[in-house]
């Protein structure tokens, strides 16, 4: 009995609080009471750590309450409670240990603990270890997100401890992966880190590279005499080489205080102005100082007089460079870790390069299918009939706007697209037939005038679209199942909508081939194109065939417009953006041959992506060079297109 009584006495003396209310977590809080009330980011560390490592079940709720500023201190005895607001003046206090209500208190008897954002971040880090063990998998994922955002050495141990009991396979895999990355960055032993690096060297994730890169980062340093031991030297550098140009080497010496700074032209000018006396500096009149030679002479005089620092001569620079040793030094202390990281990065770079190549090919393929889609209508009107239709791009635009209008009435996206496609075909088919009847049939023998007349229609249609729909871009929303992307690995991915456009391009190719080679219309079209009079003599009505063929080409442009509208924003310039590329696609491939158009689109798509790959930051340059390249290839090598028609089909 005696020791217990003694202990009770000590407690009463030390805390003043009533004994029965002080549970274990309250005791910890009281122990760091001053720090908690003071709330300074620099000193709060031990308090948070004490709560977090207490092992008590209430620790998490205390930290959470602390983070959201709902811990209140009772001024009368300095105890901490969870405060619940009843009204603006009254708060209900709840004990952390028992969870029971202590009572309601007026606000003026309480003090709110308000941690600043820095402290809240520290609390957040401390909370992660609890969240890692949270029964809710979503909370555990959030904790892993937090670790990825700010990887910290202190998180390694709790993360490792949490892997064992993880039940969710996906979360477990993520935990193990992040544990490997944390080990690479913050592991204690060299062997452990090297093993982790080896293990991750087949991973293409950006985070792996972000973890490895700091390990291989080097800094160029200059040393007088020999390089001191204990530094992890990557390689020695000699000044004047490509790795370390002479100027940079000397600038490094200047920056580290090992050599005097050179005096540049600007500095000379400033010094002369500063030492200007009686309209002369260094014995040279100010009026003469407009030449480099006079300035150097004046500066030399001033330097000999000691008024300005002397010029550093080339010989002095050489001497200073000779007197020092330059080396690239790893920031990472351990040579084994740095070497492992270097080789792992090299292996990853190889795999990333291969994947990027594949990704580029997919990109190019999808660009090619967009060009093909835009050009296939033109392959009929221009390729088969020989009509230059500059308003073709506007038919694409009309199709896209049809899709937009349909979506205003049919809110369900999948249904609206299914309605829009045939409607767009109908609208542009009608527009094409009207244009053929009213304008083009009068100009069949004069292609240059067809070009200009259809251009007139093109600007009229564009302005009409601007007047009706305004200049801002209109959305054409794709159905939900087209959102998202097909991800093969961290580098290769392609969005579903691009796959859909690719499939659509193939479908259109099939439709074109079927109509041209398996239907009566196709047969008559080919007959009229080859010899109009002969076809007429065989009982074909050439006017009707031309009208229908032109309508078909325009209608396909309309459907292509719906597809392109899903992928790009719908504006009145939509068609104009594609018209030059579409004509190039048809012309480069070889007029009058659908396989040529396919080849042309593929070639242009791959060429553009290929050039972009050389200079990814500058797509304008890529397009410029692509067009020039195509012009040169076209007029120099294959003026008839890649696949030229032969024999009678070639016509004139």
């Amino acid at each position: 009995m005696k020791p217990i009584i003694l202990a009770v006495h000590v407690l009463i003396v030390s805390t003043v609080a009533t004994l029965a209310e002080t549970g274990p977590i309250q005791a910890i809080l009281q122990e760091h009471g001053d720090l908690i009330v003071k709330s300074s980011r620099k000193t709060i560390g031990p308090a948070i750590e004490a709560v977090a490592t207490s092992g008590l079940p209430e620790a998490q709720s205390v930290l959470q309450a602390w983070q959201v500023k709902s811990i209140w201190m009772r001024k009368s005895d300095g105890l901490f409670f969870l405060g619940e607001r009843i009204d603006s003046r009254t708060y209900r206090l709840i004990d952390f240990d028992t969870g029971g209500t202590v009572g309601e208190f007026p606000k003026r008897e309480l003090k709110n603990i308000k941690p600043n954002s820095g402290i809240r971040a520290l609390i957040g880090t401390a909370l992660v270890q609890f969240q890692l063990l949270d029964p809710d998998p979503d909370r555990r994922r959030e904790a892993l997100d937090a670790i990825e955002r700010s990887p910290d050495a202190s998180l390694l141990a709790p993360l490792r401890n949490s892997i064992e009991g993880e039940s969710d396979a996906g979360v477990r895999a993520r935990k193990m992966r992040i544990e490997r990355l944390l080990t690479i960055a913050h592991g204690t032993g060299v062997d452990e880190r090297v093993a982790a690096i080896e293990e991750m060297s087949t991973d293409l994730g950006v985070d792996v590279r972000a973890t490895l890169n700091p390990l291989t980062r080097t800094e160029v340093k200059a040393f007088a005499g020999e390089i001191p031991d204990g530094l992890n030297v990557a390689r020695r550098l000699s000044p004047g080489s490509d790795d370390l140009p002479r100027e940079e080497a000397y600038a490094l010496l200047v920056a580290t205080g090992l050599a005097p700074a050179t005096v540049g032209r600007d500095a000379v000018r400033e010094a002369l102005i500063a030492n200007l006396q009686d309209d002369a500096a260094g014995g040279v009149q100010a009026g003469e100082l407009g030449a480099d030679e006079a300035r150097m002479r004046a500066y030399g005089v001033l330097a000999r007089a000691g008024a300005v620092p002397p010029l550093v001569t080339e010989a002095e620079i050489d001497a200073a460079l000779d007197a020092h040793v330059f080396a690239a030094v790893y920031a990472e202390a351990s040579p084994a870790v740095a070497a492992a990281a270097e080789s792992a990065l090299a292996r990853i770079a190889n795999r990333v390069g291969l994947s990027q190549g594949a990704d580029l090919a997919l990109d190019a393929l999808s660009l090619a299918s967009i060009y093909f889609l835009a050009a296939i209508g033109l392959a009929i009107t221009f390729g088969v009939m020989g009509v230059i239709n500059m308003a073709h791009g506007e038919f694409i635009m009309m199709g896209a706007y049809t899709g937009y209008v349909v979506q205003q009435f049919v809110p369900h996206h999948t249904v609206s697209i299914l309605v829009a496609a045939p409607l767009a075909f109908a609208v542009t088919f009608g527009a094409g037939v009207a244009m053929e009847r009213l304008v083009i049939r009068w100009l069949y023998n004069r292609p240059l005038e067809t070009l200009l007349a259809t251009f007139g229609i093109s600007i009229a249609l564009q302005q009409l679209a601007k007047n009706i729909f305004g200049t801002q871009a209109r959305p054409l929303t794709s159905p939900g199942w087209l959102d998202g992307a097909w991800v093969i690995n961290d580098v290769i991915s392609i969005s579903h909508i691009r796959i859909a456009i690719f499939v659509l391009a193939l479908v259109f190719l099939g439709i074109f081939l079927f109509i041209m080679h398996r239907t009566r219309l196709g047969l008559e079209t080919r007959a009229v194109t080859q010899n109009r009079r002969m076809a007429a003599a065989m009982g074909i009505n050439p006017d009707r065939v031309n009208m229908l063929t032109f309508g078909l080409g325009s209608g396909i442009a309309g459907i292509a417009g719906v597809a392109i509208g899903l992928y790009a924003k719908v504006t009145s310039d939509l068609g104009a953006d594609y018209i030059v590329q579409s004509f190039m696609t048809v012309v480069v491939g070889g007029v009058g041959n659908i396989w040529g158009t396919l080849l042309g689109a593929t070639g242009i798509g791959f060429l553009q992506k290929g050039i972009e790959w050389f200079n990814p930051s500058n797509t304008l340059a890529a397009q410029t060079y692509m067009i020039i390249f195509i012009i040169v290839v076209f007029i120099q090598l294959r003026p008839q297109g890649l696949i030229a028609l032969k024999g009678r089909a070639a016509g004139n």
Binding site: I273, I388, A621, I631
Partner: protein, 410 residues
């Protein structure tokens, strides 16, 4: 054949006389002469219109006479503007920099002046170094030479490649359009050395002539534009009047036959293409100092197509038609888009011409192509009594591509 060019082409004298009277009239009514009838800004508009008429004459020469529908001549026009713009901008910045550096206690060195100019000009594109193409920007004589040389050489190289490969007709049009697009895209880049999409600006201020009021500068440029148009018109009339003109009209109507007759068709076409590119460059060099600013959007392919539109509306195949077309369409266009045209109230809808002008232009262009292939210039035929032969609408030649009756002159 001993008659002079002018005697064989009375229209040239008529045109030059009208142009002279017009220039005189505008000069007398301008602010420069103390009158208030024609404002300085309108003198500039008229001067610019004369430059557009000059490039339209070039376009008519290459399209209306030689049958090459070039969609790149406005690019040559823009290149001429860029060449003179480089000198104007360099010299003007030079003046500003020198006067500001003169306030420093010691005079600047040459390198400091050039560095400060570079900083001023290229600061907007995040650079301060002079690109290599500015090497001669301080020399007016060389830049004036470039106004002719750069478009000429580009046209020569492109034409040589294209005509040699027998690229003709519509294909050539699409290729010239692609060339224009490539040039515009190239100039849009910040590292093209011509200030990207900022273009060159402040060109209306002549270096060293800050004390001269804009009313004088505008009238000088108006005279220069009128003079250039007169010279260009006379040159073009001379080119198309003799045997050379007959050959290029023959190429337009049937290229293969002219080739079979032994004429080097490619050389003729190359000559016309290059000369017209040079004329276009000169027109641009006079246009942009009056406009004050040039940027890559000016030479987008659409501009070249509009040029063809002007010539077609004015009447191609006759030089005065090109002048009429360019002047008429560009002045009417600025009248409509400038908000001066009265709105048309239809009761249920009010037609605002700012919005509907392009629709009207496009449709009237279709109408001209279909119904009046001779354009506005065709009205002159009614007056001079030129009649087309009555062949009941048939083609004039054996080929489907030959001139139709409606297009023939006599």
């Amino acid at each position: 054949m001993s008659q002079s060019v002018l005697a064989r082409n009375p229209s040239v004298l008529v045109f030059l006389a009208i142009l002279g009277l017009f220039t005189l009239g505008v000069t007398l009514m301008s602010e420069w002469a103390g009158s208030e009838v024609v404002s300085t800004s309108f003198v500039k508009t008229l001067g610019k219109t004369l430059c557009l008429a000059l490039v339209a004459v070039a376009m008519d020469l290459v399209w209306g006479y030689a049958g090459i529908l070039s969609l790149g001549h406005f690019a040559f026009f823009g290149l001429g503007g860029y060449m003179i713009g480089m000198w104007l901008m360099y010299e003007r910045t030079h003046g500003i920099v020198v006067s500001s550096l003169a306030e420093a206690p010691i005079p600047p060195t040459e390198a400091e002046i050039v560095g400060a100019i570079g900083n001023q000009i290229f600061g907007v594109v995040g650079s301060r170094e002079f690109p290599a193409i500015w090497a001669f920007a301080d020399s007016l004589a060389l830049q004036l030479l470039f106004v002719v040389l750069v478009p000429g050489l580009l046209a020569l190289a492109f034409g040589w490649l294209a005509f040699r490969s027998r690229v003709t007709g519509v294909y050539l049009s699409i290729l010239t359009q692609a060339m224009t697009l490539a040039l515009a895209l190239y100039l849009f880049q910040n590292d093209s050395g011509l200030r990207g999409n900022n273009g060159l600006s402040g060109l209306q201020n002549l270096p060293g002539l800050d004390h001269v009021p804009q009313s004088s500068v505008s009238i000088w440029f108006f005279w220069a534009s009128a003079g250039a148009l007169a010279l260009g018109y006379a040159l073009s009339a001379w080119i198309v009047s003799g045997k050379f003109g007959s050959v290029i009209r023959g190429i337009r109507d049937n290229e293969s036959r002219v080739r079979f007759l032994g004429y080097p068709v490619e050389a003729y076409k190359l000559f016309v293409f290059t000369v017209t590119a040079m004329i276009a460059g000169i027109a641009g060099a006079l246009y942009y100092p009056q406009a004050g600013i040039i940027n890559p959007a000016e030479i987008a392919p659409i501009a070249s197509i509009y040029l063809a539109v002007w010539v077609a509306i004015g009447g191609r195949g006759r030089l005065y038609g090109a002048v009429i077309g360019a002047a008429f369409v560009s002045l009417v266009s600025s009248w409509f888009t400038g908000g001066q045209a009265p709105d048309v109230n239809l009761g249920f809808y009010t037609i605002k011409w700012v919005d509907w002008w392009l629709v009207l232009l496009g449709l009237s262009f279709v109408a001209v192509t279909l119904l009046a292939p001779k354009g506005i210039g065709g009205l002159v035929d009614l007056w001079t009594g030129r009649q087309a032969p009555d062949r009941h609408g048939a083609d004039l030649g054996p080929d489907a591509g030959s001139l139709r009756e409606a297009e023939a002159e006599r």
